[in-house]
Amino acid sequence: MLTILFDGVAYGMLLFVLGIGLCVTLGLMNFINLAHGAFAMAGGYLTIVLMNRYGISYYWGLPAAFVFSAALGAILERTLYVHLYNKSHLDQTLFSIGLVFMSMAIVDYFMGANQQTINLPPALDGRINVLGASVGIFRIFTIVICGLLTIALQFIIAKTRFGSRLRAAVDDGRVARGLGINVTTIFALTFAFGSGLAGLGGALSIGIISIDPTFPLKYMIYFLIVISVGGTTTITGPFYASLLLGVADVAGKYYVPEIGGFIIYTIMVAVLILRPQGLFTKGATR
């Protein structure tokens, strides 16, 4: 029972890890960035290459993944994404799908089509007993990292001036510019940061799942579910949504396996019908 709850939480964290960068690029910047998975994949593959080819430890792989994806994000933002901020959501969808296709082919070219995995460092491998339930150490590790990231991010967004300037820029970039906000820089920084988080998410997720060039498409649905159920205005929203989805999915599959495949989608649809803005948004009506 407790193990199931814990597994659910851990699965929720996996979902959250996959989507965390998207909370920033889609959630905060309101950019339909379906290429999120490509940045996550970049972080994942970088970690794999560092570990498997150069024998660098996983602990260094994580920050490296962040930096690498952030740099990649910054470059792409400056060259490509800037042209898209003022376009429709639909154009953004098409554009980012285009990037996904390109990223899949590039990774395929350099890394091959087959699945790749890593072996976790011994300290993160294995299971320990918590309150009588046996839990994977790595899963605890992700829960802790995600929790900390969520708190930090939420603080930055809600409480700092940078956060309010960012939201102002998203609300109305034109007017924000006219009132002295350097929208370009703010967006570039935020995008790079979001991409970095995506990369970090990718690096964390390969502790649980394997990775292959179809990664950005395969998991796209999952990270979109997290964001839409959690709402796009906060970081805590998707965090709670991941927990809810994770626990419901795992418990559902454990206790009523016949409907296992439907649970997550059904929850999503139900939530979105009852609360179209997401489960955890403040009642922003208009």
Binding site: L26, I32, L80, H83, L84, K87, H89, L90, D91, Q92, T93, L94, F95, I97, G98, L99, V100, F101, M102, S103, M104, A105, I106, D108, Y109, I221, L224, I225, I227, S228, T232, G261, F262, Y265, T266, M268, V269, L272, I273, P276, Q277, G278
Partner: protein, 346 residues
């Protein structure tokens, strides 16, 4: 102004009416579509047969057309049109299989109609889910419906054949006269005719008062309500119609490929449909048609050059298209045409 008042009114009405008249380039478009039959139908020695590809394009075009109705005109972002496409495919396939290739149950035309009806009903039922929410919400709700349906198709093995798909799908000859052939000749003409009829209907719809109210809803639902537009009813209506069209598209594909499998209902159908539409240009009706042709042909051509990495080039084209062009291929053509005319004027 009041002097020429009467004449003025005359022209206002006439001008509106003129918008719904067909233009020469539309006739050209359909003439080209028809002539492709002769060119690629294995009538000319040395020219490869591509009617199967063309048929596939036609079904995709119909799918994209149905998305255009909800997205381009009513402003509902959907990533779930694949659900109706797939449902239509299964219905048509089951009918063809059930009738074991005999008239009337296996007749493709009857199959199409029933598939359209069933998906229309299903579209009506599910349309209530997309009435509220933002772009992202609708995207996810429609996607959710499609995912649930595709999981159902996988689970209801007794009916759908599960992941193996249905086999032994043998539609009878079209109207009992034209047998589907190995070259895909009948398949192409048949699908093209269906596309044409569906297109013509859609065209009437968007140029009608009903179509106008859809555009208004897309622009500003709050205001539309305030002047008495029954927003929900209109959205339900167009969503239902579009679902039926998507179902017919799916049925076409099932009949012309004589199969139905879970990937007809899978996520990538919806995604392809949306991509194709945006690629071609949403809100023009022809966008989906031209987009489907351009997209598939490009995929085919690049795929022949680089078998494994065509996705890279396809992605690059998408990226470039969005950055440099507004409103897809048609948007590009419209802008080019405007520039050309202006050049003439000077």
């Amino acid at each position: 102004m009041s002097g020429s008042h009467d004449k003025d009114l005359q022209s206002a009405s006439a001008r509106l009416l003129k918008q719904s008249h067909s233009r020469w380039y539309e006739w050209l478009f359909w003439a080209v579509a028809l002539s492709l039959f002769v060119i690629f139908g294995d009538f000319i020695p040395g020219v490869p047969t591509r009617l199967m590809l063309l048929t596939e394009i036609v079904t995709l075009a119909l799918l994209a057309l149905s998305i255009d109705l909800v997205l381009g005109f009513a402003g509902i972002v959907t990533l779930g049109q694949g659900a109706y496409f797939g449902l239509g495919a299964y219905v048509a396939a089951l009918l063809a299989k059930g009738g074991a290739g005999t008239f009337p149950m296996s007749d493709p035309v009857i199959g199409l109609l029933i598939a359209g009806l069933v998906t229309g009903v299903f579209g009506f039922v599910t349309s209530f889910l997309v009435l509220r929410g933002s772009d992202l919400t609708r995207l996810m709700v429609t996607l959710g419906v499609a995912l649930i349906l595709s999981e159902l198709a996988n689970q209801m093995r007794w009916l759908t054949g599960g992941a193996d798909g249905l086999n032994g799908v043998m539609p009878s000859a079209v109207l009992g006269i034209w047998e589907f052939d190995l070259w895909g000749r009948v398949a192409y003409l048949y699908s093209l005719a269906v596309l044409f009829i569906c297109f013509w209907l859609s065209r009437r719809i968007v140029n009608s008062p009903f179509g106008l109210s859809l555009k208004a809803i897309k622009n500003n639902p709050l205001r539309a309500r305030a002047i008495g537009v029954p927003v929900n009813a209109r959205l339900v209506a167009i969503y239902t119609i579009a679902a039926a069209l998507a179902g017919i598209a799916g049925a076409l594909l099932a009949q012309t490929t004589q199969s139905a499998s879970p990937d007809m209902i899978a996520f990538h159908r919806s995604a392809d449909g949306l991509l194709i539409l945006v690629f071609g240009g949403a809100g023009y009706l022809y966008g989906g048609l031209i987009g489907a042709a351009a997209f598939r042909v490009m995929q085919d051509v690049i795929g022949n050059i680089t078998l494994q990495y065509w996705q890279f080039w396809l992605g690059a084209v998408l990226v470039a298209l969005v950055i440099f062009v507004r409103n897809g291929i048609i948007g590009m053509m419209v802008a080019g045409w405007a520039r050309l005319r202006k050049g003439d004027g000077q």
